[in-house]
């Protein structure tokens, strides 16, 4: 792995993955900022970590299991009352089937 490889960011692709509709001038500004930050962040690539296992929990715990017992959950109406739109006990969302 080469250290400090030039950071080439396809910002349009990244913004689409993140589901954030940004204007072209905003995209360019974020692309430039991310470049600077990633150049610094890329120091991790130059660091010798041979033989080191990545960790995801600071204290090294893995899965925590509990008994699978039914328990009351939040009242449906209370939860739905926070939704931008709800009807007949459901969240209402725009169509998910999209055609080009």
């Amino acid at each position: 792995m080469s250290a400090f490889m030039p950071i080439d960011i396809d910002i349009v692709h990244v913004a689409r993955l993140a589901r954030i509709d940004l204007h072209p001038d905003e995209l360019e500004s974020y692309r430039a900022q991310l470049g600077v930050i990633l150049e610094h962040a890329a120091k991790v690539q130059a660091y010798d970590t041979s033989g080191v296992e990545p960790i995801s929990h600071p204290l090294g715990f893995t899965n925590a299991f509990r008994e699978d017992e039914p328990a009351p959950s939040l009242p449906r109406d209370e939860v739905l009352s926070a939704a931008p739109e709800a009807r007949d006990g459901y969240f209402v969302a725009p169509p998910t089937m999209e055609t080009e």
């Binding site: 910002i11 900022q33 990633l38 939860v79 725009p94």
Partner: protein, 487 residues
Amino acid sequence: MSTPTIAEANRLFEEGLLDPVELLSEVLHRASLTEAELHAYLTIDHEGARRRAEAAAERLARGERRGPLDGIPIALKDNLCTKGVETTCASQILAGWVPPYDATAVARLQEAGAVLVGKTNLDEFAMGSSTENSAYGPTRNPWDTERVPGGSSGGSAAAVAVGSAVAALGSDTGGSIRQPAALCGVVGFKPTYGLVSRYGLVAFASSLDQIGPITRTVADAGMLFEVIAGHDPLDATSYPGQVPRWDAELDAGVGGVRIGLVRELSGDGIDPEVAEVCRRVLDLLSDQGAQVVEVSLPTVEVALSAYYLVAPAECSANLARFDGIRYGLRVPGDTVSETMGRTRAEGFGPEVTRRILLGTYALSAGYYDAFYLQAQRVRALVVQDFAEAYQKADVLVSPTSPTTAFPLGAKVADPLAMYMSDVCTIPSNLAGHPAISLPVGLDSAGLPIGLQIMAPALGETLLFRVAAEVERVAGFDARPRLAEGMP
């Protein structure tokens, strides 16, 4: 009177010189005098607080207090869910959202009889080091209102500093409790990862986030910690074992304790005045019998880089839930993707957008190994580094922040410079270790300086023992300008 500490309020309650309703009035009076300038609070729950204070006063009168937090006015960072009280995370995307449940830490405070005053300002979704990233305007530093209070728990730290709350809760992902505590001249404590349940803390970076107290004294931080800590089945990362006793060795002093000054955090990049005051405290501890040694944490610099990959990566996953469908803002579009894209573009501020994009990039195909996994390997090395340092020292110390409070706007245009202000605090988050910041002096501009003490995982007993002695020898008793001249 000035706003008492938790310990002082307990004494006054017991002597019949104060009751919880009077204490709440005092705290709200201070809020009314300071809020226009300070903006520490996003919401003050006048009605709920009065109701709880009255109930606490009745318990006091009947001799049925539930413990040291009963009747104590406490502020909550606005990323902690409060049933029936708006919780915004200082974001437009959650404007007006009223949670249907309490965070576990909040529920535990309620059970202990605490009087919840309101919700404090923060950097949007706790992302920032200055509280300038709030969608509702910045909080100002009570020592100098042209300066930032630090962040992201800047509202909580500022409120405690001026006495518009007796104590507060914050959350700490890369220093967000400790750094604002340092910049506002109060105590901030980040417990060992998992000791305080994260249930109901709106998630930023789940493997790093930890709730903790912001208070005026070390003992107050301990009392708050004791109530909010403990296993919670609602948080799978909650620690299942015994919570260490914060006060088990509180008066034992530092005789024979090996205190390691972190070399990498005491020279280059640290303001000389800050470094000097911290060294002076070490001399005082040495006089008390501590053995002061120098230790090295070679990964400190690369830890910052790793943090700014791991935290945004987790943030990009956690904040995917804000999609305009189930709660919060919706900006309608013709399709669900359009709705999500517009909602998120309008709902998130620039720093949150920046971190989501950064994290999305670091997790995307082709970059996952090079950035995210490599950062998690560096994280393993940070843990190893600490383990080696703890062979030579029982606790480690450093300044909490490389500088005292900086002027508003000074780092807004330069995200990387802002990120650098977390260099001293990030290693403890990556390792999951406990750390505390306490005020130890003022710089020549009259701004507070914080000293950070770090301990190994579950090392809270020793951490509080050393912190209590630092508090005693430093004898910090200065008050912020905004609180001066108050009755």
